[in-house]
Symmetry: C2
Subunit: 163 residues, 2 copies
């Protein structure tokens, strides 16, 4: 898939087929996260990859809208040192989700409202927090794009030269 | 360019040719930002596009490492409502920078350390902050990739099943 089409058509989607993600696709997703730029090239993001069903279900209890972690074949937690900028985690997450979508794999970022719960389930040492969990899987139908609220028109988003 | 190659080869780069960015490429960059997913589809990101030389130079005084805004043909400020998550701005920025790179355009995110200065230069109303400024331009040589610190190996970044 060409890059612009991939960017333009990616949607955050919360329902997945019960079908595993091939090793090669998962490697690409993780490499995409690794290659994301970061402030001063500090590379603050670390990844915890979950494939075990019981562990995924446990993690799903740590967020308010996290049930679908249980139905995703793979979940990847992005872990940051305390004090690191969420901005870099967003760049990293977007890279991973776009690389996934280029493989036909859909995804959704999930907030861990009870961060202590997520840190405990993932076995993360002190000094870190879970920035986000990304759920990955194959779309359940031939059209994975949800029919949700459309994007705001570009003319409303963009100011030229001055707000 | 295919999506994975685009993601894998994108580097943050701070030196640009004195060559304008075509209107169509700029539209693609902005559309890519528009299409980025966001928490609860709130779409918090707004863009201020700068092409005027004196305005870019003024904005360059608002960050500690922001001089290269002046040499970039286009700078795009991502503006967030106060309290919105930086994570969504990171996703949006990465979309824009990847769409640019697919067009052969390099970029670099720049922090506005003096946010009040940036808000004033950009004419942003109260209740917002400048999350980041993205500088866009063409690479000065045939190989735009800087020879900086390499990425940490994947084995060090990834924990399988448990940290």
């Amino acid at each position: 898939m060409d890059a612009y089409t991939c960017i333009r058509t990616k949607r955050d989607t919360r329902a997945y087929q019960d079908k595993p993600i091939p090793e090669q696709s998962l490697q690409r997703i993780l490499q995409a996260g690794r290659m994301a730029g970061s402030a001063k090239n500090r590379q603050p993001c670390r990844f915890v990859v979950l494939q075990d069903a019981s562990k995924k279900k446990e993690l799903a209890t740590c967020g308010q809208f996290a049930q679908h972690i249980g139905s995703a074949p793979v979940a990847v937690a992005i872990v940051l040192p305390q004090g690191a900028r969420e901005f870099d985690a967003g760049r990293c997450a977007q890279n991973m989700m776009l690389a996934a979508w280029a493989e036909g794999i859909i995804s959704c970022p999930i907030t861990m409202h009870d961060n202590a719960c997520a840190l405990r389930v993932l076995g993360v040492p002190q000094g870190y927090r879970v920035s986000i969990v990304l759920a990955f899987g194959y779309p359940p139908s031939s059209d994975p794009r949800p029919k949700g609220t459309p994007r705001i028109p570009l003319e409303e988003l963009v100011h030229w030269g001055n707000w």
